[in-house]
């Protein structure tokens, strides 16, 4: 019997290596898609365009545009892994931008305004989490409601029009600068906001894979009853995850303000779909339990590449929308195909 047990574990180690390698390869799927889409546009641009697509300047533009989507989508990734959804993310991010703009417009200090903005984002998330956890209403419904509520609050703060801030503190616009200063010779001079997004992505990955909270999120998303049975505090976990996501949405709001030195609450309508799309293209499952940081980043980047590439090629906006929609469906179809195959093994 002992010999048998050992032989099982021996063969197990070999298998383990190969399946881990395989699952790592699979997680690269969205990255591969990113590479293909990028190469496609680069080649198309060489033939038909003016060849600006692959210039460093354009890479900076793409990254700066993708960063805010990525940051909010990382929060959405956490929520989607836990089996939830946040439809209010779009209007909440515009609400946060509005808070920032109006505080700056009323001559508050920059750091105070940013702190309040982050607080506003966390408060939005906390509200969602508490409503979902306490009232036991599906997240889809709760956030459908708060989506409109946040829009209303934003409008009230903005006083019904766009809030302009003529001269915000310098470090805000530099978050999303397309021509950032050359800090150190050996680090490519990409806007600080992109580095911030990378840092946040690493933090979120750590939370997902190396904390108790992360394990609980995956457990709740893949089977909430099991999590209950294992003594996981569902209410607490949900409130934390929505509040965390809210914080990230607050950061996305700071970016969106910085891009135009102004904020309008109405701009946030529909933005949540971009965040959700990034997660889904990146392999996140709307039924919960699956999602990855790398995938979401790739998803956000793919959308950035498409919009920039289409602009360079002077492709109509409508074509762009159709392309992104097609990619979403293709990504999910491929993913389902993969899962079905995996289940057959």
């Amino acid at each position: 019997m002992r010999a048998e047990v050992e032989s099982i574990s021996m063969s197990g180690d070999q298998e383990e290596g190969s399946t881990r390698w395989w699952s790592f390869l699979q997680s690269l799927g969205p990255l591969l898609a990113l590479v293909i889409v990028t190469l496609g546009f680069a080649m198309a641009d060489q033939y038909w365009g003016e060849g600006h697509f692959s210039e460093l300047r354009n890479v900076r533009v793409i990254l700066v545009q993708a960063a805010p989507v990525a940051v909010a989508a990382l929060g959405m990734t956490l929520i989607i892994i836990s089996g939830g959804i946040d439809l209010s993310a779009g209007t909440a991010s515009a609400l946060c931008a509005t808070v920032l703009a109006s505080l700056l417009a009323s001559e508050c200090s920059g750091s105070f305004a940013v702190a309040m903005t982050l607080l506003a984002g966390a408060a939005c998330g906390l509200t969602n989490g508490l409503l979902i956890g306490l009232l036991r209403i599906p997240p889809f419904i709760v956030t459908l409601g708060t989506m409109t509520i946040f829009l209303g609050i934003g409008k009230r703060i903005a006083g019904g029009s766009t809030v302009f801030v003529p001269s915000p503190p310098d470090w805000l616009p530099s978050l999303v600068a397309t021509m950032p200063p050359d800090w150190f010779g050996w680090i490519p001079n990409i806007a600080s906001g992109v580095w911030l997004a990378v840092g946040i992505a690493i933090l979120v990955a750590v939370v997902l894979h190396y904390t108790v909270l992360g394990r609980h999120l995956f457990a709740i998303g893949s089977n909430e009853s099991t999590a209950v049975l294992c003594g996981v505090n569902i209410l607490k976990t949900k409130v934390i995850v929505y509040a965390l996501a809210g914080l990230l949405i607050g950061i996305a709001g700071i970016y969106s303000f910085s891009q135009g030195k102004m904020a309008n609450p109405v701009e946030g309508i529909g933005r949540e779909l971009k965040f959700i799309a990034a997660v889904v293209i990146g392999g996140g499952s709307l039924s919960g339990g699956r999602g990855s940081v790398l995938g979401t980043l790739a998803g956000a980047a793919i959308m950035g590449v498409i919009s920039s590439g289409c602009a360079q090629l002077e492709v109509k906006n409508s074509t762009q929308d159709i392309m992104i929609g097609t990619i979403i469906i293709a990504a999910v179809t491929l993913d389902q195909f993969r899962i079905r195959r995996a289940n057959l093994d």
């Binding site: 574990s9 881990r20 190396y210 108790v212 893949s222 089977n223 099991t226 049975l229 294992c230 003594g231």
Partner: protein, 501 residues
Amino acid sequence: MNATTDATPQTLLSMRRISKRFGATQALSDVSLDAYAGHVLALIGENGAGKSTLMKILSGAHKPDSGEMLLNGQPFLPAGPHAARTAGVAIVYQELNLAPDLSVEDNVMLGMEQSRFGCVRTTAQRKQVSAALDLLGHPQLTPDRRVGGLSIGAQQLVEIARALVSNARVVVFDEPTSSLPQQDVKRLFEIIRRLQSQGIAIIYISHFLEEIREVADQYLVLRDGQMAGAGRLTDSSDANIVSLMVGRDVDTLFPEVPHSVGEPVLRVAELTGRKSPQSVSFEVRKGEIFGLFGLVGAGRTETLRHVFGLDRAVAGSVTVNGRLYPPRPSARIQSGLGYVSEDRKGEGLAQALSIEDNLTLSRLKPYAKVGLLGWKNRRQTARQWMQQLRVKALHPGQTVGKLSGGNQQKIAIARILHQQAEILLLDEPTRGIDVGTKADIYRLMGELAAAGKTIIFVSSYVPELMAVCDTIGVMSKGRLLDVRSVSQWTETDILSVAISS
């Protein structure tokens, strides 16, 4: 099957050398079955023996990998349940497939509506439904009644009526009595006899031998997807059939592990839930294996769920080692309780997560250093448990959903052992798993009891309770009717208490 002694019974359905494989598991291999007009064939086998797969192939829900089926001498390969039904094969499932908000008539005719130009032909349809209901003769059954308001027994009759209106020639009953009160069982048997006299071939799935003797003529025993034996019931003894089902001597199936019983550790007093349990009181002692028997719906699962704090009790108390704990799973886990759910897929395990994730989910604290989880230790621990319980899996990172039922169950048990549970609440831990793993689990239960752990073992299978437990309690309709030490019970005693109301 030897039926030549009968006066030339007409073979209605013939399944020949059917094989079916799901991934790595061979669910059926070379199984043959004959059903004769006006006869009842009992399909016997433990959970997981392949009975439901065979019936799913018959109903068209699965395609066989090899083998053929003949219905009335014609080749029969239904494309789906609807095709099977129109061809004359109807199945009355254990879990009823009814739309609770529709009327009896609408349910009976669902998918078979008689229509002309898209409009339902109400009068013709009503006639047909009434004729079927008359044959069943149940006072509650009128065409306009809402199905959701009917008793379980009456709902089952609606399913049977469905079979009747489709002019079924072969009717399969899948464990029909598992949720029925006694008087409904009697009525069901009468109806089966009526169907029999109309020349319908009946396949009756059950593992209650007494019932089978009452209704069936022939039997076919399946074990691990293979035919273990077949014949006429009058020619074989109960012991004979049981050994065919189990496939080994009873002694090796239930390895005896000596253990001694100590002081009471768990006291349940007047525990009452919204519907069930109803004022249930019992106590379990250290090192004791306490069996809980009852028919489906008797309230055994509900009792465990209340003890574990998954459902809020309306009244009563649960004391562990003389202390009360708040009614939350987390607090009950701290008190030393651990719960293995009967529903592995829906609740017991997160099927999409890895073995190590499932195994350590209820106790992650020891792996967190400064808030960060170590992967290596967890993997190491998972590997140790897998070896200790002899889990057959590739590695701790493998997805739980890919394991066989028995190995999944071992992971579920390993989890509560890993969370250092002293009192194990095991709800149907041997359901749907192979005989070898069953023996493993029985031995494990004995060893755990010998190591001073306390076990509450819920089961619907009397022989395993009789073999493994020190004490058995029997529940019916939410009440715990009788608790005796195992030597004071006989199998018939247990059953008769369980069906008394």
